[in-house]
Symmetry: D2
């Protein structure tokens, strides 16, 4: 039984790790870290766990924690994980960081987009970017896994095969994405009050959102060259879900545009054995409701011969594949378990 | 492995049975009955099952079905199950009916409130009312289980111990209840369109809702005398969830009103070993979000010494404990499985 | 042109006063008071007023304000109005207080339910309870109008005629009410975040909600004797709207229960000339969507001969008739304008 | 007083015309046409009009109607207006058609995208495309005004000045848009049920949506050459509102990209005197909540120097500026009234 500690267990992502691990046969949470709720019963903070979780919240004491658990999930604001990590901890325990601290390989890019100094740049190199379907092999032995962002996971996986196979021109990629409100976290802010969000849709972080360089870095690896994209996130009134609609110009081969079959073949090449990635049938486009509560990524596409562009669309549940679910998937890989262990939740509808 | 057939598999309750049984280790659906979608892939109707369910929808052929399965769930409109049921079927297979056909023991009450003739009154007597926590023993050997209604399950369980123990006056009971929209089913009606329901709350079926006699009959057994209640359902803009707020005058004993401890003791007497019933701590009231997606019933209460009344409050997920979950719980009881087998889903929040 | 000052202009009720007065031909807002946003452009706080309101937020300086305006609306937390009010102000300006400070005639009841000391009890006696349809005459010359609470307005108006006419037994009155989330105000609290409220319904303040004594006091006047009720508010996921479902035992006359015609006659006696009160046709029950954005009160009822009770149902928009709209209606009465001046907004649907 | 007849008065757009004209000082509805509800009281279909509209629904008899009114609004499915229109009618009455029948100048494009034969192609030429801010002069004397689509209005107005001024490359324009559910109309379809739409976001009509050629035609006029775009609509769970996020490559002048000031100057050149168009301040992006219930168009933009693209964002209320409001604005222009007469509704928030 893998012993799990969570730092930031009372945020939405932390609570989702708890929910998922309740159904995981090989792991159990033994440390519910939450600075804000120390000594309070966890089930007082999240009533869904009443009679299921009896524990109380603990401090975010990473040294102590390292002695007691096999893996630590840090579901905390940017900067915290980097400020706590050190050799003594990594010698004892493996870390899956849900923040952005170890996602970007170029520390100056991190510091520019996040506006904070990186406290542990010495670990950036060894940290593995935990996009399971792409980096599975490296994750196995990683001491630090940088769990990808929610927009990022969806955006990258949706475009990856087509970029890798050279079917689209990387310089034309535009990612327009929608997110449910849980992505904004549980902080008490006026902007996230029910009445402010309900019955409205809005763009935000236009051309400056922090997931941009993360998407760019990973897709650049696939493209084999540096690429820059436009990424526009929008907030829409729903609890969960990310939908990425991506546009790119198709690359002609021998004067011909790729066909739908070519595109499908590219997706199949990379994803046909992936349990969590579902390439939808022709003419079917993803909807967030069909993945809610699950670790699935649904992907559809449409070629527009009029403009020679392709529209790629992907959906995930931001708290599952976009956070806690992928974190558990990473844990499964790191500990040699079947990758979908404890992650076979059927999407909840309606 | 229990072989399961579902008649009405493409309604919301039917689809919820499918979802739950996907995670059940001892049962599998082998017949997805749906008149409206015969020969269509089930996962075309419900995209959440893409890559999880490969089957196509079948006709509602109960005779054929009876040969192939161990248990049939009928998740169909009132009257259908009664019109199909017969000895040849009951000799081969057990039936869990999610409609109201076998819930009321007095056929004239059924015909009055539902406005249709009962086609199989000869089976009313033997059918067992499948409120698991109350009728567990009778369910074990039942050939026909009448799975309770959603409002009913919540309303009865919330008041049952206090009526049984004589703590409240049955003639003063008023049940005011809220329901999410999935309770209205998947039929294409203007009244259930998004824009008609969203941003609004409304009462309906005031003093004439069909769950009224069902609540009354069951609580009358507990009261040891016939009782009549007021029951007012309301539609509120959410997918799932029922909240019943119930009012009754407390009965004095030796000139003293019952205390909170007395009330709690009554609840514990009947529910303390029940996995699915959670009696909340003092001062905590149920919220539908804490049971969403699960088979739990959360119950809280408050005594008002000013008016000598008690306010009892209960919540369930209408599609789980109010329909498919309780149906599976009944199946578990009927087949000698642990009662919570396949039903340990943690409530999904947010 | 009536000059209007608002203290608390950046709360939801304050902003609704601004919205309504934008369309009022005889009044204009000249002071947008808001401690939290001093010197900021009002339209930065509420983007709907961009290009419509050019003013900046001002301090809550009541002395200064009294010199510049004809009427002050205080849309502030409990206690603030009472702490600022004084003779020098009341000599210059009329005050419509949207808080609870002057609603209850018994200062000890106020202090008990609100848990704060009343700073200006000397004005309680002269303050007029601004439920326009009931106290119209007294409002005309009032210096201080205590604008009723949202639940209160709806609950009282729905039951008033039947109590006044002795058709129902006051001691049996139970008010079960639902509210949209804007009633909770714009404060940044976790409990009011989108994800906490969405897809859930919950009771709160059970048997202790502060609107209880307010309802009781006003209905006691109608009953001609002191009465106590049960009042249970619930939060449901929508922006606006209150729905009160009220239960009471009908009083027999000469051995006969009142008929629907009797009940209708009672409502007509008091409301038939009221522009804002709409008594619905038989069999029609109120829905919050039909009053959204307007100052209407919709009322319906149903007699249940089985239990000899009546179910009365009323709806309002909590921010309009439950706050800002009624406040403007009070202003109209105080300044001799047609009562529905500037208040003829048609409900917005969908 | 302008006498107004509405064909299709019980659809959402029709009902919104009724709502707006209730507050219009110079127009009154005298004919509530609705095939589905003939002889029923209009306020039975839309309870918000109870006590405000006493009329009953009438047949869609355009000949009869033409004798009784000054202007007819046709808020009906594609094809109906074209099938009814004829010289005898146009001699007597002016027509504002909210369907797509007269929006496209090339009848073959209409027939291709809409899949139906055009029954009155002889009127296409004279019909004026009623995008008020662009075609004001032509609208004045038009007999037939083709009221623009909802997505179209928002998409065109957001990009128009930049295309007209040559600041962006028309061939790179991508329009990614979100819509509330009222845009789908009031037809009883499973896809628009509350539970199907709530808690989900989805793209639809990808690369084939019918508003595409309409946007292209109008923007082509501005570009001075034919252009083709990608347009992807998405359904998000809210009643009202359209948000268009548009991407295009900026065109360098003398080797320099246009600045934000250049872009702002272009918008101001065309819109600075427009009552209904609000160009937001730098760094402010439109949100649908700020225009809900009003005829405003809010527009913001952001230049991304990294990719040399601009992101333009616009919002409208689909039922107001996207349908009924613009129709009334067209009526005002046609009848020589101030353009914002009866249209000064302040956006409703929250």
């Amino acid at each position: 039984m893998i012993k799990v500690g969570i730092i930031g267990a009372t945020g939405y992502a932390g609570a989702e790790i708890v929910r998922i691990l309740q159904g995981h046969p090989d792991a159990e949470v033994v440390w519910y870290g939450s600075r804000s709720y120390i000594d309070e019963k966890y089930s007082k903070v999240y009533g869904n766990f009443f009679k299921l979780v009896d524990a109380r919240c603990m401090d975010d004491n990473m040294d102590e924690l390292a002695k007691e658990v096999d893996v630590i999930f840090t579901a905390t604001p940017q900067g915290l994980c980097a400020s706590l990590i050190k050799e003594e901890i990594l010698e004892k325990v493996r870390v899956i960081d849900l923040s952005a601290d170890f996602r970007l390989k170029d520390v100056s890019v991190y510091e520019e987009w996040y506006g904070i100094e990186h406290k542990a740049p010495q670990y950036i190199e060894e940290a593995v970017y935990g996009l399971c379907e792409i980096n599975r092999e490296d994750i196995k032995n990683a001491r630090i896994v940088a769990n990808p962002g929610c927009y990022t996971t969806c955006s990258i996986l949706t475009a990856y095969p087509l970029i890798k196979e050279g079917l689209i021109d990387p310089d034309t990629l535009i990612v327009d994405a929608l997110s449910g409100v849980s992505g904004a976290g549980r902080g008490a802010k006026v902007a996230n009050l029910y009445c402010e969000v309900n019955e409205s849709a809005k763009p935000y972080g236009v051309a400056v959102h922090r997931h941009t360089p993360e998407i760019e870095e990973q897709l650049s690896y696939a493209a084999g060259k540096e690429m820059m994209i436009n990424f526009t996130p929008h907030l829409v009134p729903m609890n969960r879900g990310i939908l990425a609609t991506e546009y790119a110009s198709l690359v002609k081969k021998d004067g011909e545009l790729p066909t739908a079959a070519d595109v499908r073949a590219a997706y199949e090449k990379y994803y046909k054995d992936e349990y969590f990635i579902r390439i939808l049938e022709d003419g079917v486009y993803p909807e967030t409701r069909w993945v809610e509560g699950s670790n699935f990524v649904d992907i559809g596409f449409k070629i527009d011969p009029r403009t020679s562009r392709i529209i790629m669309m992907g959906t995930i549940d931001n708290l599952v594949k976009g956070a806690a679910g992928q974190a558990v998937q990473n844990m499964n890989i790191m500990f040699g378990l079947p990758e979908n262990q404890g992650l076979q939740m059927v999407p909840l509808f309606p």
